[in-house]
């Protein structure tokens, strides 16, 4: 086991790792930029070291400074958290070269899964479904007909040079293909100076469902069920829950088996997440793999009772998994609300000094946060100030519990998204569990 871990991150995830280390009896080193010297991760670690000025590029992304900090403090492991260097294969390699264990997957795994095209190939070979279609240009209507027939309607025609929704055409039947194809090409020409288009399966307002993977260095891989992360704003997750309200045990098993198969295929050996789109007909398609711990890992911890960070550290130390797939029981329902220092409806950032802070408590309520009264939320970094997580017997009770916990949460001096989450808890569609990734666009605030 490690004797001392350097946490190459800040905020709540740094605190999360430090807490796990304390419980494992491992000493901790916090690194911080000059403006972060009053942060909670610095106060709660056994040691701390300043690694650079405020800009992340010079501090939390400064590989040389972090490795050097690990060397001068004699740390034998580095936990990267999420973001910053967590998916930087070069950093993982440098750690290895310096004789420090990077607590995460191998650099090869990170590179493979970081390359979207190779990742798609790899998981396809392992039998995992991906969104059908071709990234190659389709130049004639005959070819378009053939491709569309192969992947099945509805399809979407996209400009190869395009982006941002322009030049896209959804086609529901062969009859409307010719017109749509011609229109898409001319719009593409007009919009991007290039008429080339390609055709993909159209997945309308899917749910975002992801599977949590746990793997060791001995070839053992299990999954901890899914998280539903459909409530997003501009691809930024706002609220996550486990289990997914619409997933049957059979589908969970099928998606879990796919995720495990893909992880085994590449010899994956840490925690990771396979992200899928789930359409209305309960077809699922692999999107990408995150080769790190995720912000929303607590909802899985709450319903499985497994401490994911401890398991990640144990796995990096070469220990075998303590659980087999049969040991994993999904129990009750968990919801996480991300509390950001933002205007609750306009989403403009609201950094500044917190004046008055009181987190909620009681049964089934967990707060993962690195802020405290009179702490200054810095404008230099991520705006997330807390994760509020609840667990209850079932989804209805979890929603009621989250509503009462949000009501209790006091964060003065700055604007936060607490009020947004209060609105979501009262939303009929959310309460019925019928939301998809378009929820936030449609939400009337």
């Amino acid at each position: 086991m490690f004797h001392k871990i350097l946490v190459a991150n800040r905020g709540e995830i740094a605190l999360r790792v430090i807490r796990a280390c304390k419980e494992l009896g491992i000493r901790t080193v916090a690194v911080h930029s000059t403006v972060d010297s009053e942060s909670l991760h610095v106060k709660l670690a056994d040691e701390s070291i300043c690694i650079g000025p405020a800009p992340s590029i010079d501090s939390y992304l400064n590989i040389k400074a972090i490795i050097s900090a690990a060397e001068v403090t004699d740390a034998d492991g580095i936990h990267p958290g999420y973001g910053f260097l967590a998916e930087n294969a070069e950093f993982a390699e440098i750690c290895a070269n310096c004789g420090i264990t990077f607590i995460g997957p191998t650099p090869e795994n990170m590179r493979l899964m970081g390359d979207k095209i190779r990742a798609r190939q790899t998981v396809t070979e392992a039998g995992v479904p991906i969104l059908p279609g071709t990234k190659d240009a389709v130049s004639s209507i005959d070819q378009a007909k053939q491709v569309a027939a192969e992947i099945g309607y509805p399809v979407i025609i996209k400009a190869t040079a395009g982006g941002g929704g322009r030049g896209m055409k959804v086609v529901h039947s062969p009859a409307s293909l010719p017109n749509a194809f011609a229109a898409a090409r001319s719009e593409a020409k007009a919009g991007f100076g290039n008429p080339e288009v390609y055709i993909e399966k159209f997945c309308e307002n899917p749910r975002h469902v992801e599977i949590q993977i746990l793997a060791d260095q001995h070839g053992n891989v299990i999954h901890l069920g899914e998280r539903d992360c459909s409530i997003q704003r501009r691809h930024q997750k706002l609220l996550e829950e486990a289990p997914c309200p619409v997933l049957s045990p059979e589908l969970r098993e099928k998606m879990g088996a796919c995720a495990v198969a893909a992880a085994k295929a590449v010899g994956y050996s840490s925690v990771g997440t396979m992200e899928f789109l789930l359409d209305r007909h309960h077809n699922f398609y692999f999107m990408e793999m995150n080769t790190r711990v995720q912000v929303e890992h607590p909802v899985t911890e709450m319903v499985t009772g497994i401490d994911i960070i401890k398991e990640q550290i144990r796995s990096a130390a070469g220990l075998k998994l303590r659980y087999e797939q049969a040991d994993i029981v999904i129990s009750g329902h968990a919801i996480e609300c991300r509390i950001n220092a933002e205007h609750p409806f306009k989403f403009t950032p609201s950094p500044g000094r917190i004046d008055g802070y009181h987190p909620p408590g009681g049964l089934g309520v967990r707060v993962d946060s690195a802020v405290y009264d009179q702490y200054t939320v810095l404008p230099h970094y991520d705006s997330m100030v807390a994760k509020l997580i609840v667990h209850a017997d079932n989804r209805d009770e979890a929603i009621q519990r989250m509503a009462r916990a949000l009501d209790e949460y006091i964060i003065g001096g700055i604007r936060t998204t607490i009020m947004l989450h209060q609105r979501i808890m009262g939303n009929k569609e959310f309460r019925e569990g019928t939301v998809d990734t378009s929820f936030m666009e449609k939400l009337v605030l």
Binding site: V35, E47, S48, E71, Y372, D373, Q374
Partner: protein
């Protein structure tokens, strides 16, 4: 806001009964407080964990327990002198090798560009040069000591 403006503001504030004055302007911020009682530290450094009784390893352990006061500590160097700070995290060496002489001693006069010390980071020896001609007043760090980003290495007098 330059020094002159600040002087004016300070004078103005201290001639009144204002106890607190804050001015923010873009990324500039000025806070003036007068009289008694700064707010106590909300979050003191946590007590040592009584459960973990493993001995502290012999490695250098910089700046663990006593955290400074909540305001960003812009340590003021002794009057009239300037600090040369470490631009990187690493290990401070006063000489290129254990056998050779130190680059500088207290009292040394160094020219602009002259090497003052080495900071070893990731097995690389980073030579730290003087940015101006100066006299070394104090060598703040011990040889082979770990240094953080921004920590004072030398106190010098510009010449």
């Amino acid at each position: 806001m330059d020094i002159k403006d600040i002087k004016v503001l300070v004078k103005m504030v201290t001639q009144t009964d204002i106890t607190e004055f804050e001015l923010e302007n873009g990324d500039q911020k000025l806070v003036i407080r007068r009289g008694a009682t700064p707010v106590p530290v909300a979050i003191p450094a946590p007590a040592a964990n009584p459960v973990q009784q493993a001995p502290v390893p012999a490695a250098p352990t910089p700046a663990a327990a006593p955290q400074p006061a909540p305001e960003m500590p812009e340590k003021l160097p002794a009057e009239g002198f300037e600090e040369i700070q470490s631009p990187i995290v690493g290990t401070f060496y006063r000489a290129p090798s254990p056998e050779t002489e130190n680059y500088v001693e207290e009292g040394s006069i160094v020219e602009k560009g002259q090497i003052l010390c080495i900071i070893e980071a990731m097995k690389l020896m980073n030579e730290i040069e003087a940015e101006f001609k100066c006299r070394v007043v104090k060598i703040v760090k011990e040889n082979a000591e770990a240094v953080e980003y921004g920590e004072a290495l030398f106190l010098v007098e510009a010449l």
